[in-house]
C-alpha cells in the first residue's frame, strides 16, 4: 500500500471512530431522564370500588369508544381502551385494580426507540409521536408491563397507550381519570409527594395495607404507584421485574460499541500490515489481495 492508501485507511478508521464517539457520547448519558421528580398517580386499590368512572372519563377525554367494563373477564388495555379495571377475588374480598401505562422513570420503550417517537415529556409522561415512528415494535417487545398496543389492522398503524393526559396536566389540570374518581382512590401529584402520602397511609393504617408500594422500585421505579391490602402477586402484578431500570440492561452493550469501533479498525490494520510484510523485505515480490 502506498502512502495515499494508508491515509485513506486512516480516514476510514477516524470516520468510524467519530461515529463511535457520537453514539457513545449519548449512550454514556444513559437513557433519557426527564425531571427527577415527575408527575405521577397514586392508586389506592383499597379505596377503589370498581365503578369504572375513570375508564369512561378516559375514553371521553381521548375520544375512544365505550370502554369494556365487564367484571368477569381479566382485561388487558387495548388500542381503544387505555385503562381497564380488573376484579380480583382475594380472601372473599373483591379487589379492583386499575391498569394503565406505568410511566416508568427510565422507560424501556423510550430507550428501545430508535427514532425518538416514544419519548418522555418534561413532566414525566411517556408519549408516542406518529411522525417519527417507523413501526418496529421494539417498544412492545421491551416494555416490562406490556403496555404499548398496536393497530394491527391499519395500513398506517399507531402505537396506543395511556399518555397520562399530558396535555391536560400541562394546562394545570389533573388527568381525566383522577378528575372523575368519586372515591379519591387515585391521586395526582409529584412522585415524591405521592410516595410520602402512600407511606403516611401505610403508617396510619398498617393493618389495611401490605407493606409494599408497587412502583416505588419496580423496574427502576415508576410514576404510577400502587397501594394494596394483599400482596401484589395476588392482584396480577408482575413481581419478577427487579429494581434495575430496564435501559440499564443494554448499557454494557451500548458502551461496547464505541469501544469496538474505536479500537478494532486500528488493530485490524495493524494485523494486516504485519501479515502483508512488504516493507520488511523489498526483495520479495509485493503482493496484495485484489
Amino acid at each position: 500500500m502506498n502512502r495515499r492508501g494508508f491515509f485513506k485507511l486512516c480516514g476510514a478508521a477516524a470516520g468510524s471512530t467519530a461515529l463511535a464517539a457520537r453514539a457513545g457520547g449519548r449512550a454514556l448519558a444513559s437513557a433519557p431522564r426527564s425531571e427527577t421528580d415527575p408527575y405521577g398517580i397514586l392508586i389506592d386499590t383499597t379505596r377503589c370500588v370498581g365503578c369504572n368512572t375513570c375508564s369512561e372519563a378516559c375514553a371521553e377525554a381521548h375520544e375512544l369508544p365505550e370502554p369494556n367494563t365487564d367484571e368477569d373477564v381479566l382485561k388487558d388495555t387495548t388500542v381503544e381502551q387505555w385503562t381497564v379495571i380488573n376484579k380480583f377475588d382475594v380472601e372473599d374480598e373483591e379487589i379492583y385494580v386499575k391498569r394503565q401505562c406505568m410511566h416508568c422513570l427510565e422507560p424501556a420503550c423510550v430507550s428501545a426507540c430508535l427514532t425518538e417517537a416514544m419519548h418522555k415529556t418534561e413532566d414525566g409522561a411517556v408519549v408516542w409521536e406518529a411522525d417519527k415512528c417507523m413501526g418496529c415494535r421494539l417498544c412492545m417487545l421491551s416494555c416490562p408491563f406490556d403496555i404499548p398496543k398496536y393497530e394491527w389492522n391499519s395500513p398506517n398503524p399507531r402505537v396506543q397507550k395511556c399518555v397520562r393526559c399530558f396535555e391536560r396536566t400541562e394546562d394545570g389540570k389533573v388527568p381525566a381519570c383522577v378528575d372523575a374518581c368519586p372515591e379519591e382512590a387515585i391521586v395526582f401529584g409529584r412522585r415524591s409527594q405521592l410516595l410520602a402520602e402512600a407511606h403516611k397511609r401505610m403508617a396510619e393504617n398498617p393493618d389495611d395495607y401490605t407493606d409494599h408500594i408497587y412502583g416505588e422500585n419496580e423496574a427502576g421505579g415508576t410514576a404510577m404507584l400502587y397501594l394494596a391490602a394483599v400482596p401484589f402477586e395476588e392482584l396480577g402484578f408482575k413481581t419478577n421485574l427487579g429494581t434495575r431500570a430496564f435501559p440499564e440492561y443494554t448499557k454494557e452493550f451500548l458502551y461496547a460499541v464505541p469501544f469496538v469501533l474505536a479500537g478494532v479498525p486500528a488493530l485490524l490494520l495493524g494485523i494486516n500490515r504485519a501479515t502483508h510484510h512488504r516493507d520488511d523485505d523489498d526483495d520479495v515480490t509485493p503482493h496484495e489481495e485484489g
Binding site: M1, G5, K8, L9, A12, S16, R22, A23, R26, S30, P32, D76, A108, S111, A112, C113, L114, T115, E116, A117, D131, K132, M134, G135, C136, R137, L138, M140, L141, S142, P144, D146, E151, W152, N153, S154, P155, P157, K238, N240, F246, Y249, T250, F253, L254, A256, V257, L261, V264, P265, L268, N272, T275, H276, T285, P286, H287, E288, E289, G290
Partner: protein
Amino acid sequence: MSVTTPDTATGLSADLAPRRRRFWAFLLSELKPQGKLLTTFNVISIPVMLAALVIVVLRFAGGLGAVTNLSDAWPWGIWAAVDVIAGVAFAGGAYVLCFMVYILGIKKYAPAVRVTVLASFLAYLFYAGALLLELGRPWNIVNPIIGNNFGLSAVLFLVAWHFLLYMIAALLEFSPAIAEWAGAPRLRRVLQSMTLGAVILGVALSLLHQSGLGALFLMSGPKIHPLWFSEFLPILFLVSSIFAGLSLVIVESAIAKRVFAHVMDAEHKKTHRRISFGLARICAGAMFAYLGMVVITFVHGHDAASLTGGMGAWWLVEILGFTALPGALFVVAIKRRSLTGIRLASVLTLIGVLMNRLNVCVIAYRWDAPNHYVPTWMEVVVTLGIIFAEVWVLRWIILRMPILRKPPAWARADDARRGISSH
C-alpha cells in the same frame, strides 16, 4: 495472457472495447435469461414469489393484521425471526472469510471470498427489503438515518446504522467484480484500492451488529424462557454467527459446484475440498466455544430441574441435537476426510441456528402464554418468496460476473503489471 498495450493506463484488450462502447446494449443482452427455464427451482420459486407479491399488496392495503398472526402479545413473528435475525447470522460467513483473507492474508480461502461476500451483500439487501414489509410505517425508515430523530440510546439505532454501513462496505468489497463484468479497468482500480478499508470497516461493524441482534432482546428478559435468555445473548449471537455463516458457505459451495459447474474455473473446483475442510475446522472450533459458553450460562442460571417439561426437552433438542451433534460430526468427518460428513454437519448446524433464533424471538417468547403465535401460511410464503428472490439475483450475477472463476484476462494483466495478485 500478454499485455497488448503496456503503456496505456488501462491495458484494454481489443475484445473489451465494444463492451464498453455499447454498454446499454450489453446490459440488455445480459438481462436475458440464460440456460433452461423449466428447472425444478424455477417451477417451485416462481409461483411462490408471485404469491408473495400478492400477499405484500394485501399487507400494505390492510395492515400487518390482514396477513399475519402478529398480535400485541407477539409483536415479532417469523418475518423478523427468519429473514432478519437468522438471515443476518447466516450472512456471517463474509466477515469471517474477509478477515482471514484480507487481514490475516491466508490465500487458501481467497477463491471463496467473492461468492461469499456477494451472497452476504444480497442477504442484507433482501432482508433490509423484508424489513420494509415488517415495519408498520416503513416510510419513516429514513428518520434514524437523516433528520434529527436519532434514538442514540437504542440498540436498534446502532444495528440500523451498522446494517446500512455494512451493506456499503460489502458492496465495495464485491464491486471490482462488477467493474470486471462491465469492462471498466479504471473504475476497477479505484474500487480495488478501497477493498482493505471496506474490509476493516466491515469486520468491525459485523462484530457489533451480529451481537447487536442479541442485544435487542436484553430488555425482554422476563418474557423469554430462562433457558434461552441470558445477559450474554449478544456474545452468544456473535459466536454462533461464525459457524452459522461458515456452514452456509460449505453448503452453498457444495450446491454451486453442482449447478454452476459451467461457470466455475478449474482453480475453484480444485480448491473446493480444501476450503470446505478448512472452514469445517473453524466451525467445529467455534461450536465448541459456543457450547462451552452455553454450559456456563446454564450452570450459573439454572439447575437440572429447569430441563424438565416440554421447553426443557426442546432446549436439549437444540443444544444436543443441533449444536453438539453437528459439532462432533464435524470433528469425526474432518478426521475421516469425509466431505459428505461435513456437509451433513453443516446442514444440521444451519437448522440448529435457525431453531435458536426462532426460539429466542418467537417460540420461547411468552412460552407460557395461551394461544401462542403460529405464523399464517401467508407469512411462510412471503418468507420463502424473499429467500427465492435473493437466490434468483444471486444466480443472475454468478452466471454473468467473474464470481466462481478468475477475473478476465485484461484484469489479471492489469494486476500483474501493478504487481498485485488477483484471485
